[in-house]
Amino acid sequence: MNNPKLLSLNSTTSLISRFTRGFIQALIRINKQRPVTSSSPREMYIRHRRIKSAADKSMALAVRSRRNWSRAVLARFRKKRRRHVLVRRITTCAMKKRGLENKKSGHKEASHGQANELRRLVPGGEAMDLCSLLEETAHYLKCLNTQVQVMRCVADSYSTI
C-alpha cells in the first residue's frame, strides 16, 4: 500500500546513486584484487560471477536491510564469506559444487505453483506468506529494474572509454 510512497522519486534517485557508488567501487576492487592475467574461460567465468555477486551485494547494501529480500541477500553473502574463509584453498572446486547444489535445491523447491516459483525467484521468499511475498516482489522488481539500468550505464560508459 505504501510501496509507491516508499519508493518515490527522491528515494529512488538516492538508491540509484548509492548503488552506483557501491558497484563502481566493487568493480575497482575486483580489478585491483584480480588483475587480468589470462582470458581462459574459467577465469572469465570467475570474474563474471564476482561482478554479478558484486552487483547483487551493492544493490542489497543500497537498500540497506530495510527489506526482507535485501536482508536475505546480505545474509547469503555473509554465509558464503564465512564458508569462503574456511575453505579458501579449494575455492574454485567448492564454488562449482556449491553452484550445482544451489541449482538442485532450487529445482526441488519449485515443485508446483507460481507462488513457489516466485518464492524461488525473490531472495528470502521461501519463508514468506503470499501477502508479504507480493509486497517484497514489488520492491524487488523496482530494485532489479534500477540495477539493470545502472549496470547498463556503467557498461556503456566503460565501453566508450
Binding site: 563502481i24 575486483i30 507462488a115 516466485l118 501477502c131 507480493l134 539493470v148 549496470m151
Partner: protein
Amino acid sequence: MDPPLISESSFSVANPSSYSLAEIWPFQINGANEVAIGGGGGGGLGLRIGNLGWFVDNSGHNRDGSAEESTVTEHSGGNGARKMRDLSSEDETSKLVSITASTGNNDLNDSNSKRIRATGSKNENGGLKTEVEANSVAGDKPAEQSCKPELPKQDFIHVRARRGQATDSHSLAERARREKISERMKILQDLVPGCNKVIGKALVLDEIINYIQSLQRQVEFLSMKLEAVNSRVNVNPAIEGFHSKELGAQPFDATGLMYGSQAARDYLQGVQSEWLHMQIGGSFERAS
C-alpha cells in the same frame, strides 16, 4: 450526566454492577470505529450508520450515532433499560445479535423483538449487516476481549450473511487477506509493463515471473559484458592503473561515479542507448 465525566479506565473495564455512562461508551467507540473504517471504504457510510442506529432503535433505546448523549440522559432512570442497554452495547461490539444473561422477562422480549427486526433489516439491506459485523470484529476485538470473550459467539450462528458470505472471524480475516493480496497484485501489475491487460491471477503471476526472470537474465548478461569491458579497461590504460594506485583510486572513482550518475539520469529521461538491441527478451523496451 455529562459525557466528559467518563473516564478512560471505566470503559476499559466494564463492570456490570454499576450502570454508569461508561458502559455505553464502548458502543460509541464502536460507532466511531465504524465511521472511520467506513470512510476508508468509500460509499455507503451514511447508510451503514443509519443501519446501526436502526438496530439500536429496535432494541428500544432511541439512540443513533450523533444524538447519543441526549438519549443517555433520557434513559438514566430505568434500571432494566439500563441493563438492557448494557447488554445491547456488548452485543453490538461483539456480534451485534445475541442474547446473553437477561435481567427480566421484559428485557428478554425486547431483545427477541430486536433480533427479529434485526434479521428483517438484514434481509432488507443485503450485505450491509455483514459489513458492520466485519468492522466490529476487526476493530473492537481486542477491546472487547476483556469483557466478554466467547459467550456471544454461540448465538451468532443465527445470523447468516447474504450473498453466501460467511461471517465468522476466520472467513472475515481470510477475506481481508484476499483483498490485501489483490491490492498488491494491482501494484505489481502497474510495475510490470504490459501486464495491465492481462486478466486473471495466474496469468498475472506468470507475467511477473517472466519479467523477473528476464531482468535477472539481463543482470547476468550485463555482468558478463561488464567483465569483458572491465578487463579491457584495466588492460588498456595500464598507466592509469598505476596512477589510481598512487592516488588511492579516488580520481577514477569520482569521475566514474559522476559519469555513471549522469548517464543514469540521461537514461531515466528516456535517452535510448544504441545497444538496446542487445538485451534479452526485449521486455525492457516496454518498461522505458
